[in-house]
Amino acid sequence: MTDTRSPDTATLLDIYRKATLIKTADDRFIELIKAGQIASPYYSPRGQELVPSAISANLRADDYVITTYRGIHDQLAKGIPLKPFVAEFMGRATGTCKGKGGPMHITHLESGLPVTTGVVGSGLPIANGLAWAALLKKTGQVTVVNFGDGASNIGAFHEALNLASVWNLPVVFVCQNNGYAEHTKYEYGTGARAIVDRAIGYGMHGIQCNGNDVVEMWSAAREAIERARNGQGPTLLEARTFRFRGHLLGDDGHYISKEIMDAAVAADPMPALRSWLMEQGHATEEQLQAIENDNREQFEEAVQFGLNSPYPDVSELARDVFAEEAGV
């Protein structure tokens, strides 16, 4: 049944705020890395901003979001506080994880970000556990787990989808299909016509949507999240999107053809969304600029906070290995 509800203006502007915050963060992180002020492998989500921004507009604060090393968009959309977020990227003691996890393991429990994983596919089995616990505690929480097209080929994906289906768990498996698994184009690595086709194989509801279209993404997310919350079980949600900055910063993108890149640039969802919001009367130029400026200011405050924060003391190596301090 087609649901004709659409996101209202307030929702759209919230989505826009998150999407532009993500882009601001991405641009700024890259500047900081090139200036030598952050030393870390960096996985840019540029091009995928709308996916989590639209998804998060349908989530409760206490819903769980799991993501991966290419996860700043998912984390920012979920509402992670900026200062400890940036500080963690800089390896400071004031980071979300005291500098001990770094960008690939950003965690902020209060924001509903209980785990970020650096191993492809590993978040999916973990999502099942969070969802199982939510059922036992009767909290109504939904668990959203994000991963890429590449992850849909690893064993953990298959085991997790099957189990979620058999146990009817409140999980939304969001495959952010950006067309490339590291340097391997979709067609050269994936046997399925489309990732959503795999839903049938697991007896699961499947949705495919254009992840770069705000209304489509919002609607698809709403459908999947409501199903989970209403006890209708898991959904495999394939959101088609694109990533502009390669797998890892430093990647020269030689494996992406010029035609594909040019087409993607022409279809960049961010300027498209900006124009559309104004055309549809949801916002004026001034309102959008105010949102963008506000994001830049807040992010800059977080950057300065991070740069001025201390590094963790070496004694932190002995802490948080076990419940008691190490001495094993």
Partner: protein, 76 residues
Amino acid sequence: MATEILLPKLGFSVNEALLTEWLVADGATVSKGDILYALESEKSVQEIEAPADGTLRILKEAGETYDVGTVIGELL
């Protein structure tokens, strides 16, 4: 106040990179964001932008490999 130009980490297992060439002359004035130098690491050659406005003072010669974090120049 001078801004140090630090050699960045661009790549996964990179701890050093080749400063292939300075794309601006020593003593030239640059604006933040202008392309300053070219860096070759693990997988690619990247062009790196100036982190601030200023007059460039080159401290390390092109054609050599330096550790990540090396101060290769300053913007005064």
